[in-house]
Symmetry: C2
Subunit: 151 residues, 2 copies
């Protein structure tokens, strides 16, 4: 199965993890995202809130803008978002407007993730989670431990 279907969720989440690692290298909270359509990546992004001095510069937000730009239309109906951390209220709210087909996230965010915050997704959007959650959570943990030791 794996040989016949190389473009599975694991494949794309690994690409999102590479984006998270880029964020980590820049001193940003390490979250990465890619958006796909028909098993093709059409947007890649990582968190840039520090570098851009902008709370709206989450990986998902940039990926949504980039994917819409690629498609030439603002709706992402047949697209899948792979993101290394559960989206927050803002990003889930943007995904609601985008009518994205599917969200796949790695690590959960019980305190600020959209699930516990009660953010509404578009009724047509499905959600999967847990794939590569250990790796994604470990990278975040490493970032916050190092940051604490620097301060």
């Amino acid at each position: 199965m794996a040989l016949l279907e190389p473009f599975d969720d694991y494949y794309f989440m690994k690409k999102a993890m590479q984006e998270a690692e880029t964020a980590y290298d820049l001193g940003e909270i390490p979250v990465g995202a890619v958006i796909t359509i028909n098993n093709t990546i059409i947007a890649r992004a990582h968190n840039l809130t520090e570098r851009l001095n902008d709370v709206t510069a989450h990986a998902e937000m940039q990926a949504i803008t980039s994917a819409a730009n690629y498609l030439g239309g603002k709706y992402l109906k047949d697209c899948t978002l792979y993101v290394t951390l559960e989206p927050c209220q803002m990003c889930a709210g943007a995904l609601y407007w985008s009518q994205l087909s599917r969200i796949v996230y790695a690590a959960s965010d019980p305190s600020r993730g959209f699930k516990n915050m009660g953010t509404h997704l578009h009724p047509k959007t499905t959600v999967s989670s847990g794939i590569m959650q250990m790796e994604a959570a470990a990278l975040l943990k490493r970032f916050f431990i190092e940051k604490r030791n620097l301060n």
Copy 2:
């Protein structure tokens, strides 16, 4: 009182309404926003979702980015947002991250506004509403009636 304090909520909401009118003239859903600090406008924006093909291009999102850019820091702790329509989940989620001090909105949005959607604001953010709500709602209504007649 009005003579002694020209820079009241009504003054700034009128500026937000001017932004909404600019959006209307561009064929965008007419929502406008300004952000102030110490009674000075530091950001003005209007909805550009159609022109930019981007669901994230709400007036509030652009105003947050613009105000942070002006201040040279991503937190808007002493700022007030004036917006002609109740913010949605996405925008309220962005305002949560920004730690904005105060939100003043004109018209309510019972179906997609953050209140009925249950979006959490930052605990330090206060909210006022209703000022110029008739004017803001009338402009939105006019837009949607004209749009319906064109299709």
